[in-house]
Structure formats: structure tokens, C-alpha cells
């Protein structure tokens, strides 16, 4: 019987009641009295000099309140970047100003040139269309290699080139790696592209700025994964508003996947403009705007080389990547191709020597930043693809070559050559479970059955690792982070024993309102419905870093556990007083305090009431009340890992790929709510399969975004995907957080792309078609062309 409450119970979500009845409160559902609307005039050229902006006629149109251009923002800072990378030569990265409104030049399609505030959204849009814009178009820099070439046009005139940084990990290993590769019996090389994606949370971004003249307080309602981070960045670095006068609220948020981490121009604009025009200012993004203003993801071009001995043992690995930053540095952009990517190149394997080089490049495209997985999918993709190619070249089984190189269970803690220490894991166990669930033995029969129908069937395998809950703060500070990476919780016990938890993390689909109470219910022994989770408002939660990088339960959940432990410790003191026993003899179980070895007991609610009505209470030793806050800074990352398999059928006539089955075996450590974890994996898999088969942001040579709507950007739909088999029964609990949890939000998106591509290549190879690699997305035309080229 599965548990029906507490940790490990698949309890249904309380969030669902409001979402299923249309009573959610997303930012666009909020309308403030007197609210005006802003429409942003965006650049339709990728690179150009603004010669003239004629706003006179537009300003005179019906309903127009005010038009803003860059001139109105002269005293306002640019959007700050939260991570500084140091280049191999010791210089800091190039960090050009990222203005709220374009200053003199436009650098990507979609950059804001002017903003019109009017009584209605329609009037604002009509007036924006009437602004006269004269832009002298300049040659656009789109391709990364060309951007680094001699004499390439520069995205930022005041920088020496389009290079943002040139980073190495670990620089001291560079020569050793070169030498090992030179001398190895086998070197397998793969050049590949990890294409640019649009995150596409279904809720477009929204911002509402509000200013209260009487109190001099600003409020921003925004679609954010981390309201405190927005308050800090916008308040301190952009607008100069102190935190006690700035409140940021992120109510129900309709998905983020990374794209709602970052501080965006539109948020700062609405906050600033609300004070200037003396009215609340609202902006709701259209999907078309989202395509050209939400930070995009991935966009790496990589060459990877794996050196092996005769038995298929990995000897050394070298990875060289060009990473696209787009036109400006988005909030965490520099961290993604570096510390979230290079550090993952050991994977689940014992490769003794690794060197990673990443050159980050400015181009006339929308800024790129973290998108579900952020750097880890890019690392996993190249590694798991080159291993598959190596198995083929050495004539080895792809499962066997992986197993042979696994870090073994007795080798933990395991220090990789790329700066991580894995605390725990058991890669053999997940792979064995996969072999069982995916029925690898039955594959040949299924392949023959497909062949009889004229289809090529292939099997793809991958054994990924990822790193979640990036930490500790003092380490990430050395690596260039301009923020701490702790999280926080205030646990407020109410007089009659119910509990309100204010957490610094944010739920936008992750189910915190359901899962976090399960933890406290387990610890205290009261029902979940006595516990409420509050998040998303800087006015009532302690400073927290928000939700991304699968960190909520590992970091925010741990903070909540620590605060609850303090609560329990204090409550035991109160109970000891009430029971006239010594504190050391008090036990808490099932919502009751008992004196060890006796039948004397006092209920949880009697103790909490005593804390707030302290008539019979040790006031000399103990303050009244029962409320505690904890800030938790993890000692290390957590390291979820897993083994994935999928089977595909390729139609050799059309190149169409069908995913027949997908099995994901993940080790997430301890699991709080298995139903929710399954759901997180499903969603990640869909996004990863979307990347593998369908999705891509395409820019033409002039920097026009060709895929700027759902007509051209292929989102995975229900009939593109199979049902999934998901398992998380292999559990090696994290050794350094109190819950033994690792995080599960990104695994699916990290592990699935190489699994799919490996399967397609396998199908072609088994069909006698010599294709080594096809770049994602594996659309029918790409697969068909590869088949043609090979035959």
C-alpha cells in the first residue's frame, strides 16, 4: 500500500482546485484601478542605427498618455548581469550595457525602441504603429564563427570584438589532455550543434507597475520564478529603489522553464513609468513578442573528442564550444555554458582527463540564457552522442561501453577532473533497472516486426548525470556568481496549531503547495491540510533566491526542515514544562508530545496554544510565540542521475521519426510525492523530445527571426509524443541535505535528446545506412536528406 500522507505519499494537489475552476490568479488576471497600458515598439531590424524617432503624431492620438524613448531613461541603469566569467587570460568577460530602451543602436529584432502608454491596449498599439522610425540598417552578425572572424561587424562598437569571454576548465589540464588524445589508440570526434530553443511557457510574460505616492512605495506584479531576485536587481542596479520601498509579487505563474528567472526591461519599464505617469502601468506580452523578447535557450556549436584504449576505457575528453549570448548578456547567461556545462563533462564516467573550452559570442539575436536544464543538456548531449559513436567505431555494445566506464558505487564521494565532487550514486543500478523495464532483450524481435512493415527501428540509450541546487554560496562566489544561492523559510505556527510556511522559492507548476506540507506533516504528525505554503511576494516571504535548477526541495525544502526543527526544539521545551518532565525525555510523534516510557502526553495544539497564551509557561527561559526562520546554504550540489532508453521507427521513404516507447529510470534520492515527480519527468521528456525532433529558433542571415509564432516554431503536441514509462525506485539519498533529496525538474529535458538521436542513428545504422550524426531537430527533411546523402 502506498502511503496516504507524509513523505512518499502520492497525494493529490490542492493547487488544482483553483486551476480547474478558472479561479487561478495569474498576473494578467490582475487589473488595478486607474490602470493604463503600455505597448512597446520593437525593432524589426536586427542591427541598425536609430536615425530618427518621430513621436509627435503618435503622442496626439486618442487615449495616449505618454511616449517614452531612451532619452527618458538617461538616469536609469542597464539590466545587470548576475554572473561574471573570467577568461583564460585572466580578464573579466566583456559586459556591454543592456539598456531598457535601445540607445542609439538596435542590436536584435524585438529590442524595444519606444514605449507608448495609453488608456487601452488597443490605443497604445495604434499609437506605437504611428511612431516614425528611421533606422540605418547595418550588416547583422548571426553566425558565431563568422562573428569571431577578422573584420566582422561588431554588435557593440565599443568592444574590441564580438567575443564575450574565452573560458577553460581546467586550464592546468589542457596540455595533459592534448597529449593523451595525441597518444591514444582511438580518438572519436563529433561536431554537433545544440540548436537554439524558445522556452515557451504557456503563460506569456506580464508586468504591472504601481506607485503609491502617499507612501512612496513601488509594487511590481510580474510573471517571475524569483521575485526577491527581481527586487534586488531592479531596485539596487536599475532603478535605485531601496528594498523597503519596493515590493515584487509573482502570483500564480503559468510555467517558467528558466525564462522567468531573468530581470527583463519590461518589468523595469512598468515600475519606473508608473511613478512618472502617476498611474498603474500594465504590459501583457503577446506570443509574438515572447518569441523575440523572452531569453532563448541552448545555441551551442561543439566539437568533442573522446580518447579510448583498446578495451573501450575512456582516457581523455576534449570539448570545444562556441556559445551564443545573443546581443546582450541576460541575467545568468554567462553561467550556463561554463559552470553549468563544463563541469558536467565527466558524466557518470571515470574519464581521468578532461578539458573544456568555451568561447561566448555576441550576435544580433535575442539574448540566450538558462532554459530547462541550462548547460547540462548541452553537456549530456555531446557526451552521450560521442560515446555512442565510440561504441560503434570500436564494435562495442552501447550499454556495455557505458557500464565499463561507470564510476562504481564504492567510489563515492567521487572527485571529477572538472571541479565537482559527486556525493553519491549508483549508475549500475539505474542501468539494470532500465534493461528490465525497457525489455532490451526483446528489441530484436520488435525490430524485425518493424522491418516487415518497411520501417527502420532503432534503440537509443543514455546514462546522464546532472547537478542541481547549485551551491554553496562561498564557492559560487569564487566562480563569479554575484548572488548567494541559499534559500529560506519562515515557519509560523498559529495559536491553534495550524502552520503557515513562507518560503523563498516559488511554484509555477512544481506543486510546492502540496509537497512542502507533506514534509512538515511527516515531521510533526499533523495532517497536511493544517499547513499552508505562501510564496511569491517579497512583502511576506524571507529573502529567497527562487525556483530554477531543480533547487526548490533540495534548498528551499531543506530551509523549511531546518526552521521546523527549531520549532520542534522549542515546542519540546514547552511540552516539558507542561508535562513537568525533563526536555530530554520528550518525544514528538503523531502530533503528540509524550514523556518517554510513560503514558503522559500533551497534544501539539495544546503546546502551540501555550506558546501564544503563556499562562502556564517558562517565561524566564523562553520567549512566547512559535515562529522560526532558517536560511539554508547547501554544502554541495545534488547529483540526480539516470538511465534512459527509447525506441524509434524511421520511415526510410519520408524520413519521419516516430517515438514508439520511452523509458526513464531516474535516481532522485528520496521522493516526497511520486505522482508529482512522475509529472515533472513527463514534462521534461516532452521538452527534450521536442528539442530532438521538432523545435528550433531560426534566424535568417539578416537576423530576422523566421520562427516567431506557433505556425513556424514546432511545439510538441499530444500526437507527437508517446506515453512514457517512468521509474524512480533506485534511490541513493543525497548525503548532505536533511531530506536526502536531489531534485527532479530538469532530468527529463537533459536525458532525452541524446536518447532520441542515438535511437535514430541506431535505426539508420541497423538499416545499413551509414549516418554518424544528424543535427537536431531530426525533422523528416533532415533525416531524409541524411539517408539520401549516405546512399
Amino acid at each position: 500500500m502506498p502511503k496516504d500522507h507524509g513523505i512518499g505519499a502520492p497525494i493529490r494537489r490542492r493547487e488544482d482546485l483553483r486551476f480547474l475552476t478558472g479561479s487561478g490568479r495569474y498576473t494578467d488576471d490582475i487589473n488595478l484601478p486607474g490602470q493604463a497600458h503600455v505597448h512597446f515598439l520593437r525593432s524589426d531590424v536586427a542591427h541598425g542605427r536609430i536615425k530618427r524617432l518621430g513621436t509627435g503624431a503618435a503622442a496626439a492620438m486618442d487615449g495616449v498618455i505618454r511616449i517614452f524613448t531612451a532619452r527618458d531613461f538617461e538616469n536609469v541603469g542597464g539590466l545587470p548581469c548576475g554572473w561574471q566569467i573570467t577568461s583564460r587570460d585572466g580578464n573579466p568577460m566583456a559586459e556591454p550595457k543592456h539598456p531598457i530602451l535601445a540607445e542609439g543602436k538596435v542590436r536584435h529584432v524585438g529590442e524595444i525602441i519606444a514605449a507608448v502608454i495609453a488608456e487601452t491596449p488597443e490605443q497604445a498599439r495604434d499609437a506605437a504603429e504611428a511612431i516614425e522610425v528611421e533606422i540605418e540598417e547595418l550588416p547583422a552578425v548571426i553566425d558565431m564563427a563568422a562573428a569571431l572572424g577578422e573584420g566582422a561587424p561588431k554588435v557593440h562598437d565599443d568592444l574590441p570584438s564580438n567575443l564575450c569571454f574565452d573560458w577553460g576548465l581546467v586550464e592546468e589540464n589542457r596540455e595533459k589532455v592534448d597529449e593523451a588524445i595525441r597518444n591514444a589508440p582511438h580518438v572519436v570526434t563529433l561536431e554537433l550543434v545544440n540548436q537554439r530553443l524558445a522556452p515557451n511557457a504557456m503563460e506569456p510574460r506580464v508586468a504591472i507597475g504601481d506607485y503609491d505616492k502617499a507612501t512612496d512605495e513601488h509594487t511590481l506584479y510580474t510573471t517571475s520564478q524569483n521575485p526577491h531576485v527581481i527586487r534586488l536587481l531592479m531596485g539596487a542596479f536599475v532603478l535605485g529603489i531601496p528594498e523597503h520601498k519596493l515590493r515584487v509579487v509573482a502570483p500564480d505563474v503559468g510555467g517558467g522553464f528558466g525564462s522567468k528567472i531573468f530581470h527583463y526591461a519590461e518589468e523595469a519599464f512598468c515600475t519606473y513609468a508608473a511613478k512618472v505617469v502617476g498611474r498603474p502601468v500594465k504590459w501583457t506580452s503577446s506570443r509574438s513578442e515572447a518569441f523575440m523578447s523572452d531569453a532563448q535557450g541552448r545555441d551551442h556549436v561543439t566539437k568533442i573528442e573522446l580518447a579510448l584504449d583498446e578495451e573501450g576505457h575512456f582516457l581523455a575528453l576534449r570539448s570545444e564550444t562556441l556559445a551564443n549570448m545573443g546581443a546582450y548578456l541576460s541575467t545568468f547567461a554567462p553561467a550556463v555554458p561554463t559552470w553549468l556545462h563544463g563541469t558536467l563533462m565527466a558524466g557518470t564516467y571515470r574519464t581521468p582527463l578532461i578539458y573544456v573550452n568555451v568561447k561566448a559570442v555576441f550576435t544580433n539575436t535575442v539574448p540566450v540564457d538558462a532554459y530547462r536544464g541550462a548547460g547540462r543538456p548541452e553537456a549530456t548531449f555531446q557526451l552521450e552522442r560521442v560515446i555512442d559513436k565510440a561504441a560503434r567505431e570500436l564494435g562495442m555494445d552501447p550499454v556495455e561501453i557505458r557500464r565499463r566506464n561507470f564510476i562504481n558505487p564504492d567510489q563515492f564521494p567521487y572527485e571529477t577532473p572538472v571541479a565537482l565532487v559527486y556525493d553519491t550514486g549508483n549508475y549500475h543500478a539505474t542501468l539494470e533497472k532500465l534493461e528490465e523495464l525497457a525489455d532490451l532483450e526483446g528489441f530484436e524481435a520488435r525490430r524485425q516486426e518493424s522491418a516487415a512493415r518497411g520501417k527502420l527501428r532503432g534503440l537509443g540509450i543514455n546514462c546522464y548525470i546532472e547537478a542541481c541546487g547549485i551551491a554553496p554560496s562561498n564557492l559560487v562566489g569564487q566562480l563569479g556568481a554575484r548572488a548567494g544561492l541559499y534559500d529560506s523559510a519562515t515557519v509560523r505556527v498559529n495559536p491553534t496549531g495550524s502552520i503557515t510556511v513562507h518560503t523563498g522559492v516559488h511554484s509555477h507548476g512544481q506543486s510546492h503547495e502540496t509537497t512542502f506540507p507533506q514534509v512538515i506533516a511527516e515531521m510533526i504528525g499533523i495532517p497536511e491540510d493544517q499547513i499552508e505554503i505562501v510564496h511569491g511576494d517579497t512583502a511576506n516571504s524571507p529573502m529567497g533566491m527562487g525556483t530554477y535548477g531543480s533547487r526548490s526541495i533540495a534548498v528551499g525544502g531543506s530551509a523549511m526542515v531546518r526552521a521546523t526543527e527549531k520549532i520542534i526544539a522549542k515546542a519540546k521545551k514547552i511540552a516539558a514544562h507542561l508535562l513537568e518532565a525533563s526536555e530530554g525525555d520528550i518525544e514528538l510523534k503523531d502530533g503528540k508530545f509524550t514523556v518517554k516510557g510513560t503514558d503522559r502526553e500533551v497534544a501539539w495544539a495544546d503546546v502551540t496554544l501555550a506558546a501564544y497564551v503563556p499562562h502556564n509557561y517558562p517565561l524566564e527561559e523562553l520567549e512566547p510565540g512559535l515562529e522560526e526562520t532558517s536560511f539554508y546554504d547547501p554544502a554541495n550540489f545534488t547529483f540526480p542521475s539516470g538511465a534512459y532508453a527509447c525506441e524509434v521507427e524511421v520511415d526510410p521513404e519520408t524520413g519521419k521519426v516516430e517515438v514508439c516507447s520511452f523509458v526513464a529510470v531516474d535516481d532522485f534520492g528520496n521522493v516526497i510525492n511520486p505522482m508529482v515527480v512522475d509529472g515533472q519527468v513527463h514534462g521534461g521528456l516532452a521538452q527534450g523530445i521536442g528539442q530532438a525532433l521538432l523545435e528550433q529558433c531560426v534566424y535568417d542571415e539578416n537576423g530576422q527571426l523566421v520562427t516567431a509564432s506557433y505556425m513556424d516554431y514546432a511545439m510538441p503536441r499530444a500526437d507527437d509524443l508517446p506515453s512514457f514509462t517512468v521509474d524512480h525506485s533506485c534511490q541513493t539519498p543525497c548525503t548532505h541535505n536533511p531530506l536526502g533529496v536531489k531534485g527532479c525538474g530538469e532530468a527529463g529535458a537533459i536525458g532525452s535528446p541524446p536518447t532520441i538521436v542515438n535511437a535514430v542513428i541506431d535505426a539508420l545504422q541497423r538499416g545499413g545506412i551509414e549516418v554518424d550524426h544528424i543535427d537536431m531537430p531530426l525533422t523528416p527533411v533532415r533525416v531524409w536528406s541524411a539517408i539520401r546523402a549516405a546512399s
Binding site: 483553483r18 480547474l20 475552476t21 488597443e122 504557456m202 500564480d252 513527463h682 509564432s709 505556425m711 499530444a718
Partner: protein
């Protein structure tokens, strides 16, 4: 301004609207029924799905004036008056068919339309029918399960 009248979730409403007002804008901004969402501007995500005279319709692709005289049902009209979830809504909760909830109203309206025309759809038929609804969170797996379960419960 044009005067329009319709029945929304069983209640008669009459209002003055600009002729260019979309039905979704009318529902959200004029009637405050914010359960119907807008996820795109090219009629492709289905977040705005409602029922118009019993037929599934994308309310972002219809003018409010076109709905003059019509019977409209939105997500707010899908639970019983006492708040008890309808069979489809309950199946979505039971099978974790939603995460962020943004696509959910449209999904529920689509599922209701499907089960009305095909009370016992196969997994493949469910996937094909939901082709007009985008969800970025769930990977559709649990949505498909929920719709199947609802079909069985209504059986």
C-alpha cells in the same frame, strides 16, 4: 459601440462593446471571467477554448459580436453550483493532468467536447483530438490518462 446579449454559464449578460472586441477579451475584461486564457496570437494553443452553442471554439478567434445571442460555457461553468468538480475536472486532479494550470481550462473544455462526440475514445483518438491544445508542463501523458479516466467514469 454595439450592444450584445448572450448567456454565459447560464446567466444572461448584455453589454456594449467595440466591434473589434474579441470574445476572449469580452469574457476576461468585461465579465471578469479570467479562467479563459490567452496563450498565443495565431489561434494555435487552445488556452482560450470555450463552448459556443455546445461547440468547441477558440475565443481568441471570434469577435464578441459574433457570439451575440449564443450560449457560452467557460471553465467557470464546469463545476456544479456547489463547487463540486465535474467528472473531467476531477479526473484531471486525480491523474495530475495539470501543473502550472495555464493550459488547463482550455484542455478541460476540449476534453468535454471530445467526450461529447466520442464517449469512449482510444489513447490515439484523445491525442489526435487534443492536437489543438498546447501544454508545456505535463508532456500530455497525464492529460491523456485523465481524459481516458473521465471517459470510463462517465461510461
Amino acid at each position: 459601440m454595439v450592444e450584445i446579449s448572450m448567456t454565459v454559464n447560464g446567466k444572461p449578460v448584455t453589454a456594449q462593446v467595440e466591434p473589434r472586441t474579441l470574445l476572449v477579451t469580452f469574457l476576461r475584461e468585461h465579465l471578469g471571467l479570467t479562467g479563459t486564457h490567452v496563450g498565443c496570437d495565431t489561434s494555435q494553443c487552445g488556452a482560450c477554448n470555450v463552448h459556443v452553442n455546445g461547440m468547441l471554439a477558440k475565443s481568441c478567434t471570434m469577435l464578441a459580436v459574433e457570439a451575440d445571442g449564443a450560449e457560452i460555457v467557460t471553465i467557470e461553468g464546469m463545476a456544479a453550483p456547489d463547487g463540486t468538480l465535474g467528472v473531467i475536472q476531477q479526473a484531471f486532479q486525480d491523474h495530475h493532468g495539470l501543473q502550472c494550470g495555464f493550459c488547463t481550462p482550455g484542455m478541460v473544455m476540449s476534453a468535454a467536447a471530445l467526450l461529447r462526440e466520442n464517449p469512449d475514445p482510444s489513447e490515439e483518438e484523445i491525442r489526435a483530438f487534443l492536437e489543438g491544445n498546447l501544454c508545456r508542463c505535463t508532456g500530455y501523458h497525464n492529460i491523456v490518462k485523465a481524459v481516458r479516466a473521465a471517459a470510463e467514469a462517465m461510461g
